[in-house]
């Protein structure tokens, strides 16, 4: 229970920030253009720096082991989601390619780091990295392909994303056990701490620009939201419960919970940005999906975590 309270209040605080962004947009202080500037700053500057700062921790054998186990778990979860969304795309209410991307990926980077930072402390942000690393690799290859089916993906464009570069730099520093000089690390960690508020303000702007009334009447959208926030997370819970059977370390529960947090977040901002950059015909739906799931996730994330905790103990 002790984990649930900070988790819930951190998520609620982030919803409040999104509402502030909403109000600021409605009163004309922020607008779409400024919201985009905020999300570019979040995606290209603050998120990479917060990952870099997550890696600035002492290297212990235990941490290295946990890191690779969670990496394996993250890969398996992605493959699982890939298969499930593939199955869903063909059966029942079929999904378009863009919708597949939406359901498969979530906003691990922008939301999970601030949640873990605020609720559990900076030292646990480290364990969010394996999931984010995997998701970023998938996002910039498969995700990009699903949104831009015609275009070719070059290895260079994947490796040159700020996120991947900062993960590489951070991982190398971590494995060599090198710490940044204190002044630099102060700058990096203070900038990294802005990630949550800045992204949530951008979400608020997005919400204010969305025709909410129209969204809430779209039944297919509810189905997508259900898949993203309930169905896939439940599969991830089942999978992680199996892992918890086999892997018993001192902090296993906590670390697996962070991996779970990585997989149950709301719609992915990167996919939304891809669709905006590509002028994708479904971009309106995609951005409202992202905004609405962010709000709803404030309720679903604590429920999924509660479920995981009660089943795993």
């Amino acid at each position: 229970m002790s984990v649930m309270i900070p988790l819930t209040s951190q998520i609620a605080a982030m919803v409040i920030i999104a509402l502030i962004g909403y109000v600021m947009t409605k009163t004309g202080i922020l607008d779409n253009e400024k919201g985009k500037a905020l999300s570019v700053v979040g995606l290209y500057i603050l998120a990479p720096l917060s990952v870099l700062s997550a890696f600035q921790t002492e290297r212990t054998a235990e941490k290295v082991t946990s890191f690779f186990i969670t990496w394996g778990a993250a890969l398996c979860i992605h493959v699982l989601f890939l298969l499930l969304s593939g199955l869903l795309a063909h059966g029942g209410k079929s999904l378009t390619k863009a919708e597949r991307a939406l359901v498969m990926f979530n906003n691990a980077g922008n939301l999970i780091i601030p949640i873990v930072q605020g609720a559990f402390g900076t030292e646990y942000v480290f364990y969010t990295v394996p999931y984010m690393l995997t998701q970023n690799l998938f996002c910039w290859t498969l995700g990009y392909h699903l949104i831009n089916p015609g275009r070719k993906i070059s290895l260079r464009s994947v490796l040159c994303t700020p996120m991947i570069m900062s993960i590489c730099a951070g991982l190398i520093l971590f494995l060599l056990n090198i710490r940044l000089p204190q002044t630099v690390s102060t700058a990096v960690s203070q900038m990294g701490a802005c990630l949550g508020p800045v992204c949530m303000l951008a979400v608020g702007v997005m919400l204010a620009e969305t025709d909410l009334k129209k969204c809430f009447t779209d039944r297919h959208l509810y189905f997508l939201i259900f898949l993203r926030l309930i169905a896939l997370p439940l599969c991830a819970v089942a999978f992680l419960l199996v892992i918890a059977r086999f892997w018993k370390g001192p902090e296993t529960g906590m670390i697996l919970m962070i991996t779970l947090l990585g997989s149950i977040g709301p719609g992915n901002a990167t996919i939304t940005q891809f669709s905006m950059l590509a002028d994708h015909p479904e971009r309106g739906k995609i951005s409202s999906f992202t905004a609405i799931t962010t709000l709803l996730s404030a309720v679903t994330i604590p429920m999924i975590i509660l479920l995981f905790r009660s089943l795993s103990t």
Partner: protein, 342 residues
């Protein structure tokens, strides 16, 4: 750093009342180190913004979006956060003293800049505004938070309150003489609204509920990094070579970063004779930090808003003085410590 060491050594030798003074010096030593470290960290953030602009990820438009959100959203929230502290008689008294000090420093600066504009090299009206006001809001809160701790941010508010009221009266008048000044204008600025709201909560001794408090403090913590990113963008968009060859700009920077701060040091040294509270030294240092910052972003924005002919040189003045202040602010603080604790 060597200077500080030498200063401390000489102090230890001559100090008559051993223990207490030694502790004080240790304390100020750590304050100096964390002050320099925090300012250096902020310079690194500005460099980050500079590099990102040069690499094409940020641009002037995005930099403006950052400074608007810093000015209208993050700064007000950091002020409200500063007021979220317990109300004690001591704090209220110190707050009122710093308020009086801030009023007097501003009067001093207004008189000095008036004299300077008539003598020597002379100053234009816009330069007078640039010299008189500084970037207390965007820079001092993060510096005080990082170097002295969250509990002292409270005392930055009194300087900001006075400076903000003057921005929208005297500052606006100096930049745009034709513009009418109305009380409504002053009252409706986000900073003043935040100060009124925060002060109300403080005087009523009301704390925000935990969740809202978290949201406010996390938002407030973004002020420094985002302002510095915006400064970096501004630097990248400035023709630095042209600026560095403009000798008049050096003169204005010299007035803003050295002359007026030294006058403020002397004034606060005088105040220190009359006010001897437990934390008087540190609290007056916060007031000093408020008065020795670099060029004000608000004045630059006024100039841009009203298409002032000197807006180009004002924005490069703000950017360059920010970088130079990384050296002058610790130096001024050191000077203050030397005169007030000897």
């Amino acid at each position: 750093m060597l200077r500080v060491d030498v200063f401390m050594e000489s102090k230890r030798r001559i100090s008559p009342d051993g223990q207490m003074r030694c502790w004080k010096e240790e304390h100020y030593m750590t304050v100096m180190i964390s002050l320099i470290r925090q300012i250096a960290a902020m310079v690194i953030m500005a460099l980050c913004g500079y590099v990102m602009t040069k690499r094409g990820i940020l641009d002037g438009e995005k930099g403006k979006a950052l400074s608007v959100s810093a000015l209208y959203i993050f700064a007000p929230f950091s002020i409200i956060n500063a007021f979220q502290t317990e109300r004690t008689g001591e704090r209220v008294r110190s707050f009122l003293i710093t308020l009086a000090v801030a009023v007097l420093i501003h009067i001093l600066f207004i008189i000095l800049s008036g004299i300077l504009s008539r003598t020597g090299r002379g100053l234009t009206r816009a330069e007078r505004a640039a010299v008189m006001f500084n970037n207390a809001g965007n820079l001092i809160i993060p510096i005080v938070t990082g170097a002295l701790g969250q509990e002292y941010v409270f005392y930055t508010v009194s300087y900001m309150l006075i400076q903000n009221s003057l921005y929208w009266t005297l500052g606006l008048h100096l930049i745009a003489p034709e513009e009418k000044i109305t009380p409504r204008r002053i009252v409706r600025t986000p900073t003043i609204i935040a100060i009124a709201f925060g002060l109300g909560l403080f005087l009523a001794n009301i704390r925000l509920p935990q969740t809202a408090g978290m949201a406010v403090s996390q938002m407030g913590a973004c002020l420094g990094p985002l302002s510095m990113l915006a400064v970096g963008v501004m630097l990248a968009e400035t023709d630095l070579r042209a600026c560095f060859s403009d000798t008049h700009l050096y003169y204005v920077i010299f007035l803003r970063l050295i002359v007026l701060p030294v006058c403020a040091v002397l004034f606060l040294w005088g105040v220190g004779f009359f006010w001897r509270g437990a934390e008087a030294g540190t609290i007056l240092m916060v007031s000093l930090l408020g008065s020795c910052g670099p060029g004000s972003a608000t004045i630059t924005q006024f100039a841009q808003l009203y298409d002032h002919p000197e807006r180009g040189s004002l924005s490069s003045y703000t950017a360059i003085s920010t970088i130079i202040s990384a050296v002058t602010i610790p130096f001024i603080i050191l000077l203050y410590q030397t005169v007030s604790f000897s």
